[in-house]
């Protein structure tokens, strides 16, 4: 049942991608995603694909895991592919009523799908190689300048950390409660929509109660350890941009440069 869902995709490992500073990773990812949209010639797609595959190999994440992370958006990719097939003018292959499938459409659809897939792969690589804790730390650090205009960077990061920390816990709890109610004769697998909705009550009520209880206990525990917001809080493990990061940034600039070059030459 629910126990088979993996959430919080972090996959511990010892690769270059794992050791990079999370802030650097976040910024580079951001730039790379923009680059994927801006640089759209065939040559650019070829280089971007090779680069992305190289990143996957570099991260030492099993390919199966990466492919599995594509599953949720597979339908989006397929639908956008089909839409593109029928929505471009050009050499007609076959016709379905008023819709014309064209060669240009297929090519365009393929490229758009490829772009989407690359996008998801690099984003999930970030999730695979960075622990949620580091990720929120990085986010907090990057958003720090916005504090001057009153943006609650620390609070936001803390909320995200707590939320992520409790997702697996709550999932486990849901699974447990579902089983317990099943043991009391609830049948989750059959019945019409209304019946199924009704069967959510015996799950949601205990789940909410326990979530509130946990929130209360956590708040108490944080206060007991003198938590009073981000003001003046120091870290044991400071994020440091090191030699490895500079090397990676240099490589990244090369790749972006190559993409830009290809775009300018329209290859």
């Amino acid at each position: 049942m629910l126990g088979d869902i993996t959430l919080g995709q972090y996959f511990p490992g010892k690769s270059i991608l794992h050791y990079m500073d999370p802030r650097v990773k976040l910024v580079l990812l951001f730039i790379y995603i923009i680059a994927l949209f801006v640089f759209d010639t065939y040559g650019c797609y070829a280089v971007a694909t090779v680069f992305t595959v190289a990143l996957v190999l570099l991260s030492k994440i099993p390919a199966g895991m990466v492919i599995r992370s594509l599953k949720p958006i597979m339908w989006l990719v397929i639908i956008s592919f089909i839409m593109h097939i029928f929505s471009h003018d050009g050499e007609v292959i076959f016709q379905l009523g008023a819709f014309k499938a064209t060669v240009e459409g297929i090519i365009k659809g393929f490229l758009i799908s490829l772009r989407l897939l690359l996008l998801i792969i690099v984003s999930s690589l970030l999730m695979f190689t960075t622990s949620p804790l580091l990720l929120t730390d990085a986010l907090e650090d990057l958003l720090k300048p916005l504090k001057k205009i009153g943006f609650p960077a620390h609070e936001l990061a803390m909320m995200m950390t707590i939320a992520m920390r409790f997702i697996p816990t709550l999932l486990e709890e849901t699974d447990k409660i579902m089983k317990a109610q099943q043991a009391r004769g609830v049948d989750f697998e059959s019945g019409n929509f209304i019946n199924r909705a009704k069967q959510m009550v015996p799950i949601l009520v205990p789940l909410f109660i326990s979530a509130f209880r946990r929130a209360d206990e956590l708040a108490m525990a944080m206060e007991a350890r003198c938590y009073h917001g981000g003001e003046g809080r120091t870290r044991m493990k400071k994020l440091l941009v090191g030699k490895l990061d500079y090397i990676c940034i240099t490589w990244f600039i090369f790749v972006i440069g190559a993409l830009a070059g290809l775009k300018i030459m329209e290859i």
Binding site: T6, I177, Q181, R184, G185
Partner: protein, 290 residues
Amino acid sequence: MSIILQDVTYTYMPGTPFERTAIENVSIEIPSGKITAIAGHTGSGKSTLIQHLSGLLKPSNGKVLVDDVDINIKNNNESKMARRQVGMVFQYPEQQLFEETVEADIAFGPRNLGLTEEEISVRVKEAMEFVNLDYDTYAKRSPFQLSGGQMRRVAIAGIIAMHPKYLVLDEPVAGLDPRSKEELLKRIRKLHEKQGITIVFISHNMEDIANMADKVIIMNQGKILLEGSPKEVFDMSQADDILLAGLLPPKTAIILDELNRGGLKVDTSAYTVEKGVELIYQALKEAGKC
């Protein structure tokens, strides 16, 4: 008549890097009309094992038979009825209460069985009596106003009201104060004696097991380590195995063993406090020391 597990293996998240085999090739029999205790270190697979007894987990490999019926056949009425024979009380069952009143919560299970309202109300009263909750006082209260021990009794009543032939309890007394604990164990034993319900329970406490169980199963790392009557399992010659599984034999057995090694000729077959005291007294008398 019994629950039989044949070569049951269960793997969590197969085909992922998080794959973990919780129990492996486990074959046991839960004899009908007896109290069976399952003990084991955290992560030894006890909870996974007992979830198979009522079909909440389906074995990756192997079979579960309740009264000779395979309980994991899909869309099979006989299989479904067999599953209903087994009532399951999870760890901290009070966390699964959700209704507005105690009565409604206990009635939830019987109602899902499709019983008539009269029958349900009879069963609720009877179940509340069994767990020692006064109907007139508690029936209309919200379960969330009760104490932890009372909430747990409400939750257990909710299962008892379904009239299972087998009652499976996962650490029924965890987190209770000593008095509530004694009381609850007494009630469970009474349920067994009066209605002949087969009891299966998980416990870390060897004293409780020694006092209650007819059969003891000790698990370690997903496998059955020891199995048999308390007398066989708590024989001190096997103490090393029990220690290996991260458990301690009953204190009485340890004390008798130590006395014997210290030179007092005492029969070491006892594992309950009462019997232990008797044997020590006897040994001292024979040695002429009192």
